[in-house]
Symmetry: C2
Subunit: 332 residues, 2 copies
């Protein structure tokens, strides 16, 4: 049986392009004991994937050249030789960018789509939701009345962070890259205010104006000069969760920025980087709470769904120019 998969053709230097990807036709092997045959339904594209396109060890192994990329995928079981999976089951797991695949059943998770969409398991009930949950609650530790600033606020993680912070009674200010996104943040997601960083003439002045009591918490998805501006506005005992640095992922050199450790000292501030795997043991707690909030209508999902397996490379590249609102997903 022939399937299509998307391989890393060569590693990018700086911003990747479509030439970094290659479509290959493969023949699937025979289904073996404890394996399942899957057909991809929804494919996640995430900023961290850019790091995996580079050589060398990061916190997650790099993609291999001439091998299929992989990531979070929701798939349907076509055939199973695994005792826990049956034809027709829907599952989520780290799977290849392939139209179909044969993989061990171990490591797959069955999903229940009775009350939520299958794609939710790549978004609000998946890694982005968990990232928002643990980064905000475990690192920022929001208290009612405090001000939270979110960069990359209209992204998959940012939108969930904001909604949880509102549940906790915080003032929430977000930064995004278009007027449409800014309006959505304020009108659909309860942000107290939002800034279009592409048109703000003076980012520091905008932040100061929108955070008259200063910034108690900063949830950083972006890094670079945007973070420089936000950090300069922190209050005493501020907490900064470093979740993403998308503005720098395509830079060939990180360059320099203003020194801020003296401010971190004088403000007794905290900076904590994290990757979601740090919280693996607490995923059940996170998923349970996120599901409860979704069920109560306190947490809304937002997805940008791109049609067509062959659009995966384009969708991934689109993250770096802000083509997504909320979670970017490719539907096969």
């Amino acid at each position: 049986m022939q399937i299509e998969q998307i391989e890393l053709a060569h590693r990018p230097c700086g911003m990747p392009t479509l030439t970094n990807f290659r479509f290959e036709t493969k023949v699937l092997p025979e289904l073996q004991r404890n394996q399942v045959h899957l057909k991809g339904m929804y494919y996640s594209v995430d900023p961290y994937m850019r790091m995996r396109m580079n050589e060398g060890k990061s916190y997650i192994p790099p993609f291999e050249v001439n091998q299929s990329l992989n990531g979070g995928v929701v798939a349907k079981v076509i055939a199973s030789q695994h005792p826990e999976f049956y034809e027709g089951d829907e599952v989520v797991g780290m799977l290849p960018w392939a139209t179909e695949c044969i993989v061990p059943g171990a490591g797959l998770q069955k999903i229940d789509t009775q009350y939520v969409s299958a794609s939710s398991f790549l978004g609000i009930l998946g890694m982005p939701g968990l990232t928002a949950y643990f980064g905000l609650l475990d690192i920022c530790k929001p208290k009612s009345g405090e001000t939270l600033f979110i960069s990359g606020a209209a992204g998959a993680v940012g939108l969930v962070v904001a909604q949880i912070a509102k549940i906790k009674g915080c003032r929430v200010i977000g930064l995004a890259g278009s007027d449409d996104k800014v309006n959505m943040l304020k009108n659909e997601f309860g942000f107290d205010d939002a800034i279009n960083y592409k048109t703000a003439s003076n980012l520091n002045a905008s932040i100061t104006e929108m955070c008259p009591n200063g910034v108690d918490m900063y949830f950083d998805n972006v890094g670079g000069s945007i973070s420089d501006a936000v950090i300069s506005c922190i209050n005493s005992h501020a907490r900064i969760a470093v979740c993403g640095q998308i503005s720098l992922y395509n830079e060939t050199s990180l360059g320099e920025g203003p020194r801020f450790l003296p401010l971190i000292l004088s403000k007794s501030a905290l900076i904590k980087g994290f990757i979601i795997i740090d919280y693996a043991e607490r995923f059940p707690e996170g998923i349970a709470q996120l599901s409860e909030w979704v069920g109560q209508g306190l947490l809304k999902s937002k997805e940008t769904i791109v049609d067509g397996f062959d659009q995966l490379p384009n969708a991934l590249l689109g993250l770096f120019s802000g083509k997504n609102t909320g979670k970017m997903i490719v539907k096969a």
Copy 2:
């Protein structure tokens, strides 16, 4: 009765000089109820005082121009109108840079010098000791076998941090500004290795060589390019306590440095600034533990004592060229 005091003549721009200080002769008022008349014995000079010479609010109010400077002082009670203090008592408190003074008894602490020197209460049992204790144990959370890097290792705080880390079973590497200090760190204070940053041709290479398993904890007293080098060598889940930034205190602009938030993210690392007042409620715990370790011979004091009240400005300036080893104190 005439006394002498040292006032801030004008605020420095960049590195202060002796012209920023002025000696003034004053007449003490009458001793009032609940006041004590003190004669200064030992005066603390500390890097944070440089910040207080600047205008504007920091975490501690600035010194006032044409007013006496102040800081930690050990003094003897000459006369008392306060029910808890008697002539001959020795006390420690935040006191003016004056040969004698009349102050409220409230806020003074009686000290017991039966087993330890009076000057210890400005050093190993005072703010520097407490700073080391809470910064290391509360922020770095040392585990046996881990590697700790200390900048400003031969200073008042650094030497105590190192000794506590050795009690906790850590590998300890220090950075100091002379070969004599480096030898002292290794031969007298149990450092596993130490670097003279003034003669190291390649600081990154030296750190990598001396920390073959990477840096698990960094206790930063210095900041600037030294911290840039250490941070580039951190391990996953590293903890960085930002205690001082003495290399930058005399800079009129903080300038730029390499961006490290992407590394903090990928390493799930923690950076926490702190000032000792954050831990005020836990001072009794800290003093009790430090005293116990001193009594057990596990913690050694190191002081640079400068003779003469009139040497106070010189001693303070000396901190910025590394004239001190351990705690810098002026003896009246």
